[in-house]
């Protein structure tokens, strides 16, 4: 007696195969869905904004008059904020990563810091805004200047830099540091001369990703009270400022009042996206160019 009826199996086979094909296409469609939306989004932004981009728009001062408005102030604000975020996150992020990977004894404290960093990465950005508002703007009485915004965003993206730096340090093969110790080098000499240079491409890639995250962040800046229409250009980290995403935010909100503001927002988004594109290209180039053959 046969339990498996070959005829039956054959009959069902076609149905099963057709079902597989149908599902396969729907999985593909789902994968492409996001990309289609991405295409529409980028198309819309460029369609609305590109004709508004010219030198006057890039270099001009902010204005309520849509036809005269420029974004140089916001560009400079973003620049100065990054001038704070980049060094702060690099130094503290790399320092933390070195400590956790190379100095900390594997134990409770190290596990605790590690868990803590993972949790911080999941805290909503707006909560960092409240921290920045309470500590930097009010308690330290900086007011809403570049430094306050920069510190706030630094805390926000620090976990990204730490985790990337940890991975980069971990991927440096141990035989390199062994060679260094074998010559009588001290631990710090080995870290400084061998491990960090070898880990640098990975660290830089992570730092750039963190920086592009910080450049696009809006929520924390709204909370620390970055003004809408700030005419003077910021000249340093102690000045009041506005930033590209803040400008996009205000112009989008007010586009129901003045229609052209939507175009200004779109044009500013184009500038922001180009900036992000450049940063990410740099990250990819660094990663490919400095890939080590250990």
């Amino acid at each position: 007696m046969k339990y498996v009826d070959a005829e039956q199996v054959k009959k069902r086979m076609n149905g099963r195969i057709i079902k597989n094909t149908i599902f396969k296409s729907s999985f593909l469609i789902a994968t492409l869905f996001g990309l289609v939306v991405l295409t529409i989004l980028i198309y819309r932004v460029f369609a609305d904004g590109i004709s508004w981009i010219n030198w006057d728009f890039i270099s001009g001062k902010l204005s309520t008059d849509a036809n005269r408005a420029g974004i140089m102030g916001a560009i400079l604000g973003t620049f100065w904020v990054m001038a704070v975020v980049a060094p702060v996150t690099m130094i503290i992020g790399i320092g933390t990563a070195i400590y956790l990977e190379l100095y900390a004894k594997k134990g409770r404290l190290q596990a605790f810091i590690q868990t803590n960093i993972a949790n911080l990465a999941g805290v909503p950005s707006i909560v960092y805004g409240i921290l920045g508002l309470t500590i930097f703007v009010r308690a330290m009485d900086f007011g809403n200047i570049v430094l306050a915004g920069g510190f706030t965003l630094s805390l926000l993206v620090l976990p990204i830099v730490i985790v990337a730096a940890q991975e980069a340090i971990r991927s440096v093969p141990s035989h390199l540091s062994e060679a260094s110790y074998g010559m009588g080098a001290t631990k710090w000499q080995t870290i400084k001369n061998i491990i960090l240079p070898a880990a640098l491409p990975g660290i830089l890639t992570g730092a750039i990703l963190a920086l592009s995250r910080a450049i696009g962040e809006t929520a924390p800046l709204t909370v620390i009270g970055i003004p809408a229409l700030l005419i003077p250009f910021p000249g340093g980290i102690w000045d009041k400022f506005t930033a590209l995403p803040m400008q996009i935010y205000y112009w989008t909100l007010d586009s129901s009042l003045v229609e052209e503001y939507a175009n200004l927002a779109a044009a500013t988004i184009v500038v922001l996206l180009l900036l992000l594109f450049l940063l990410n290209s740099a990250a990819i180039i660094i990663r490919n160019k400095f890939q080590h053959r250990f």
């Binding site: 035989h175 074998g182 010559m183 009588g184 001369n193 080590h292 053959r293």
Partner: protein, 278 residues
């Protein structure tokens, strides 16, 4: 059965007592003297009651099957083994009469005079020049002219100068495996150590490069004491003056290389060198 094992053990103790330095009437100076060394990785007992004297300006070979503790012993001599956090040791190792396993002994100082060459060539991802200059630089030598001299001298000493003298600024990873290994030897020579530890330095190389390195070792022994771990018994026979046979973390037999290979006193040594196990 158990009786015969016990017997063998006593035998073995007697054998090793024969090779104790005091009993050897050697004129040569002892560089490394190991007494009752035990080493554990966590709870794994990797080295058991090692007693061994390494003589100056000789090549001492360490042979034995995989996992018997050769690398561990070698790395204990420059305390690189401490990079594994779970390691702990007992016993005494003296280097030129000074006790090195004590906490007061600076590992950096030890490793400056006891150089090491690793199984896989491991040049730094830097230029050939910077690889050689690395050691002197970390020890505070910054003068460009002196560094130039050291680089040339070390590369000549490792017989690789002629091959690389026109490309000192190029990345060391452009060299062949054999060249890389000689570069690593040159890098070790740059800080003028007394002793060079080599952990299977030719196992990743082709026969021709192996031959070159063996020649180099013969030359180097005029100025340096060399301890070499090797998997290859012919190599030990070719290049070494003395050979220690390790098995399961113990030294089974340690004697002049000629004696070990022609007239071993322990059955297990004979079995191993005649290829009966391992």
């Amino acid at each position: 059965m158990s009786l015969s094992v016990a017997k063998e053990k006593t035998n073995f103790k007697m054998d090793t007592s024969v090779v104790r330095p005091t009993a050897m009437h050697e004129n040569r100076k002892i560089v490394f003297d190991t007494k009752d060394l035990n080493l554990w990785y966590g709870s794994t007992h990797a080295l058991k009651d090692i007693n061994l004297s390494v003589y100056e300006k000789e090549v001492t070979a360490i042979i034995g099957p995989s996992g018997c503790g050769k690398s561990t012993y070698l790395k204990t001599l420059n305390r690189m083994v401490e990079l594994v956090p779970s390691v702990h040791t007992s016993g005494i190792i003296t280097y030129n009469g000074r006790e090195i396993l004590s906490k007061n002994f600076k590992v950096e100082e030890l490793r400056t005079s006891v150089g090491m060459v690793f199984q896989k060539p491991n040049p730094f991802p830097k230029s050939i020049y910077d690889n050689i200059a690395y050691g002197p630089r970390i020890h505070g030598i910054r003068n460009k002219k002196i560094l130039d001299e050291i680089v040339e001298k070390s590369l000549r000493g490792a017989f690789i100068w002629d091959e690389v003298k026109d490309r000192l600024k190029e990345n060391a990873y452009g060299l062949s495996g054999g060249q890389q290994q000689r570069l690593c030897i040159a890098r070790t020579l740059a800080i003028e150590p007394d002793v060079i530890l080599m952990d299977e330095p030719t196992s990743a190389l082709d026969p021709k490069s192996t031959h070159k390195i063996e020649d180099l070792i013969q030359e180097l022994k005029q100025d340096y004491s060399i301890i070499i771990v090797t998997h290859n018994m012919q190599q030990a026979a070719r290049i070494s003056d003395r050979t220690a046979f390790f098995l399961n973390g113990e030294v089974v037999e340690y004697d002049k290389t000629d004696t070990i290979f022609t007239n071993p006193s322990d059955r297990r040594t004979e079995d191993y060198i005649s290829g009966r196990f391992g």
